[in-house]
């Protein structure tokens, strides 16, 4: 049986600050907080039909991280892979006005205030992952024959 892993599917929305914070918080969880069993799923590839991403989310517990209340990552995961195990709306953490109305910025222009927001959201991601019940794991495994296409 496959080892338990958790997928994180994050928006990277370029139209508002929330997207930048969402992306950076997800990367922080993966790189610095080093939750060994986490895997990021690429949202654009997921939407374009990426089999590996969609199949992962069907089998392993997956959470979504969205920059704003449009919840693109959450809705996509539910549409293509079924129920999601947790979701984060960054605008609820940093405030709707900050997330949506602040002009989008490049990474090089991030301030200490922005980095604090990243930390806040990253903590929330960790909390959400730790709340996932072991029963969420569907028990399906991958393997077996496949024909070349």
């Amino acid at each position: 049986m496959s080892e338990l892993k958790v997928g994180i599917i994050s928006c990277s929305g370029e139209e508002c600050l929330g997207g930048t914070i969402s992306r950076l918080a997800t990367r922080k969880v993966l790189e610095e907080l080093k939750l060994v069993a986490t895997v990021t799923l690429c949202l654009p590839l997921y939407l374009a039909g990426g089999v590996e991403e969609r199949d992962f989310a069907k089998v392993f517990p997956t959470i979504s991280v969205d920059g704003c209340d449009k919840l693109c990552a959450k809705r996509s995961t539910e549409k293509y892979s079924g129920k999601i195990n947790g979701f984060i709306d960054v605008s609820k953490i940093i405030g709707n006005e900050t997330a949506l109305n602040t002009k989008v910025i490049r990474n090089k222009d991030l301030t200490d205030e922005h980095l604090q927001m990243v930390d806040q959201v990253a903590s929330e991601i960790v909390k959400t992952i730790s709340n996932i019940s072991p029963d969420s794991y569907s028990g399906k495994t991958f393997g077996g024959c496949g024909c070349g296409s």
């Binding site: 892993k5 997928g7 089999v51 590996e52 991958f142 393997g143 077996g144 024959c145 024909c147 070349g148």
Partner: protein, 285 residues
């Protein structure tokens, strides 16, 4: 000359060399049983010419170094059996081409020289035309680690070395490449350095290189022999190795010299699958 080429000229109207490419293609298809591919029509509707290209070895005629016909072949994922570049041939035979688009004495002389050259070049054509024996009928066993999928062909004709390279052996030839373990570890492959055609390779000798932004991977040949063909499409599209390293992403074809000995040091599907699984779990791709 093998009288069954699919002939793809650039047919360009920018220079005289392009006009020569078209005229040469017409002569090839009038005098022998070759089939012409119209590059303009091929871009719009490819069904007819895909069929022709799949049934015949492909001869590409580029007018100049822009190599439009070669690029079109690469876009359509076609294997080029033979290439002619008109400006190179003109330089080789000290023929100066017109600045306008008319075919005069010099241009017609060049066409005849190239035609004679193609007619005399039977040995090379015979070697290349045997490529069609390598079918893409693989049956895969799949292993998934996280979101990454690793396929290994189960076909008994496919052998592996512990350097994650495979050899698909049919008769006295082998097609070689890298496994999914390599392409997943490298991520997006950006550069392909092929082995030289005609070079002699020892078993476990280096036979080309592929490179991504992460690292360089030197291919270690599973077999010994002479390199008779390379996958030229990879020069424009090395990402095909990521897409499918066993089919579109094959690296080179080798004429085998001592496969009976080579085989003793190679492993089959069962053993390689287990080795690859363990490597994947240990390396955390």
């Amino acid at each position: 000359m093998v009288e069954n080429y699919a002939v793809l000229p650039c047919n360009g109207l920018d220079k005289c060399a392009g006009v020569i490419s078209g005229e040469l293609a017409i002569k090839l298809c009038q005098d022998a049983k070759n089939e012409i591919i119209c590059p303009v029509f091929y871009r719009i509707a490819d069904a007819k010419y895909n069929k022709i290209a799949s049934e015949h070895p492909l001869l590409v005629i580029d007018g100049c170094q822009t190599k439009c016909a070669s690029k079109l072949a690469a876009e359509k994922n076609l294997k080029i059996s033979r290439k002619v570049t008109i400006t190179e041939e003109a330089k080789k035979h000290n023929i100066e081409l017109n600045r306008n688009l008319r075919l005069n004495e010099n241009e017609n002389a060049l066409i005849e020289i190239i035609l004679n050259g193609l007619n005399n070049d039977t040995e090379k054509v015979t070697l290349l035309s045997d490529e069609s024996k390598f079918s893409s009928d693989f049956e895969y066993e799949i292993f998934q680690n996280g979101k990454f999928i690793f396929r290994v062909p189960r076909n008994p004709e496919v052998y592996f070395n512990e350097n994650d390279c495979w050899a698909y052996v049919i008769g006295n030839r082998a097609r070689i490449g890298v496994t999914d373990f390599v392409q997943q570890n490298l991520s997006d492959i950006l550069y392909f350095t092929p082995p030289e055609i005609g070079s002699e390779i020892d078993q476990f000798g280096e036979v080309g290189e592929i490179e991504s932004s992460k690292s360089v991977f030197e291919l270690i040949s599973p077999v010994s022999g002479k390199v008779i063909s390379i996958n030229e499409t990879l020069e424009q599209k090395p990402e095909l190795i990521n897409e499918n390293p066993y089919e579109l992403g094959w690296i080179a074809e080798i004429e085998l010299t001592d496969f009976d000995s080579d085989k003793e040091l190679l492993i089959g599907f069962d053993k390689y699958f287990e080795i690859m699984k363990k490597k994947t779990e240990d390396s955390n791709v």
